[in-house]
């Protein structure tokens, strides 16, 4: 099989806050359907990187090129605001660590899922509701909860609802910021299982930030390890975790094994 062209091409990316480095010299390619984890301790620059990749903040140096459905490979810096915002709510998703930041907590689960559909012009209440119900089932939430607000949901349900809300437009790329960090360990396993299944089914590319190497092991095809805003090591997940080369990665891996 011929390798596809990368969905996302990142080259020499940097973001600074005054004289403090957020991240710098970050380069990688991401292919359709590929799950990439960015691992590191807090303060390593991984969340800065995620927000910069998603263009929620403009990079100070380097480029991000994305394979748009219509225009093909395009430098995001040249994309007008209108198209960028459209990308955010159609072909991209962003799952936040705290579901309260990614959901509308006071409107029903149905409206949360339906929002993106309405944003792209769906104007049939019955149809929107039907799709929302279907997605609720796909993320293993009882369909009788369709008209309930997420404020009445458990942490795990909220996070699954956030997934459904993002995936309803069938995006090709989803950014995830520590999506399991707020969940109990018992709930995490079920959530990760579901995530792995959906991502594989829909062939979605994912960039997921985590401090938890176990999450990376379960989900990621490839792994990037960050420290002080820079990539220290990158490789296939299993290889990298089984045979870490960089001393910092070795430290991270051993601290997990010993824990």
């Amino acid at each position: 099989m011929k390798p596809a062209i990368p969905l996302l091409q990142v080259k020499d990316l940097a973001k600074f806050y005054g004289n403090r480095v957020g991240c710098e010299q970050v380069s990688f390619n991401l292919y359709p359907g590929e799950v990439l984890c960015v691992a590191g301790e807090s303060g390593s620059g991984k969340s800065t990187l995620l927000n910069t990749l998603a263009f929620h903040q403009r990079p100070d140096a380097g480029s991000i090129r994305y394979d748009l459905r219509e225009e093909g490979v395009t430098d995001l810096a040249t994309l007008p605001d209108a198209r960028l915002r459209e990308l955010w709510r159609t072909d991209w998703g962003f799952v936040r660590q705290n579901p309260a930041d990614g959901l509308r907590m006071r409107v029903s689960a149905g409206a949360n899922i339906g929002e993106r559909l309405m944003a792209v012009g769906d104007r049939h209440y019955g149809d929107i509701r039907g799709v929302a119900k279907d997605w609720l089932q796909r993320v293993e939430i009882d369909e009788t909860r369709l008209d309930d607000a997420p404020s009445s949901f458990s942490g795990g349900m909220r996070q699954r609802l956030q997934i459904a809300r993002n995936l309803v437009t069938e995006p090709r790329l989803v950014f995830m910021d520590e999506p399991t960090a707020g969940l109990d360990v018992s709930v995490q396993a079920r959530f990760l299982d579901l995530l792995r299944r959906l991502v594989a089914e829909l062939r979605i590319a994912v960039i997921l930030v985590t401090h938890d190497l176990a999450v990376a092991r379960l989900l990621a095809h490839r792994l990037i390890v960050m420290r002080h805003g820079r990539i220290v090591e990158t490789g296939l997940t299993d290889q990298l975790l089984d045979d870490p080369q960089h001393p910092y990665t070795q430290l991270l891996v051993s601290s997990v094994l010993n824990a």
Binding site: A82, G110, A111, V120, R123, Y125, G126, L146
Partner: protein, 286 residues
Amino acid sequence: MSVQDGYNFAYLDEQTKRMIRRALLKAVAIPGYQVPFGSREMPLPYGWGTGGIQVTASLIGADDVLKVIDQGADDTTNAVNIRSFFRKVTGVATTEQTREATLIQTRHRIPETPLAAGQILVFQVPIPEPLRWLEPREAETRTMHALREYGVMHVKLYEDIARHGRIATTYDYPVIVNDHYLMRPSPIPKFDNPKLHRNPALMLFGAGREKRVYAVPPYTDVRSLDFDDHPFAIERWEQPCALCAATDSYLDEIILDDAGNRMFVCSDTEYCAGRQAAGHKGALAA
């Protein structure tokens, strides 16, 4: 020193009037777009029609005939107060007759008598931004308007239907103007929304406290938001007006006694009186 001598015609100085008229011209050129303007401190409180008053003051001339209504009525205290303010500072003729007026300032209603080309209807607006409850940041709502990102408005309507089985917004019902801008029509009942569509009169909206004006020029398309399977619909009453027997007007409910007996009468007092004078007689008419 009397009030008339101490102030310019229509209270505002000519520079300020010109500034407001410039903003209004821009508003007319971009139907439904909220134009920021240098709203002045008026001698009436914010929230009591200072936006409408400034729009009226910037347009009114010595030959104009002014009508002022609140809740459809010419004789509510607020309408009386604003009318007397303009009489004091302009000396122009005032009227209760919708057809005679060249300028009509209104709060919460559009008159039942159809407006004609050449007339100007000035609305008092409390909150101009239709996206305010969904997105509190001004900088963000400006972008959403520019890019016509209005999907989130339907989230509100969706939620109404999910909860109540129907759209539960009854007044200040959001509309799309000229296929672009989402606009609040001010707190008129949705009964009046269809009158906004392709109206021959010029409709101007003034929000004094929020410092915005906007406009619907004559014959402009104005569409109320809805879903394909839950179309926009207006209020209906089971009985006609108890005074003039009208079946096509917006009715106020009036409680008659301690036993809870009630009657329904036209909110537009001028329309009702006109019909009664023409011989129409409701069940409780004198």
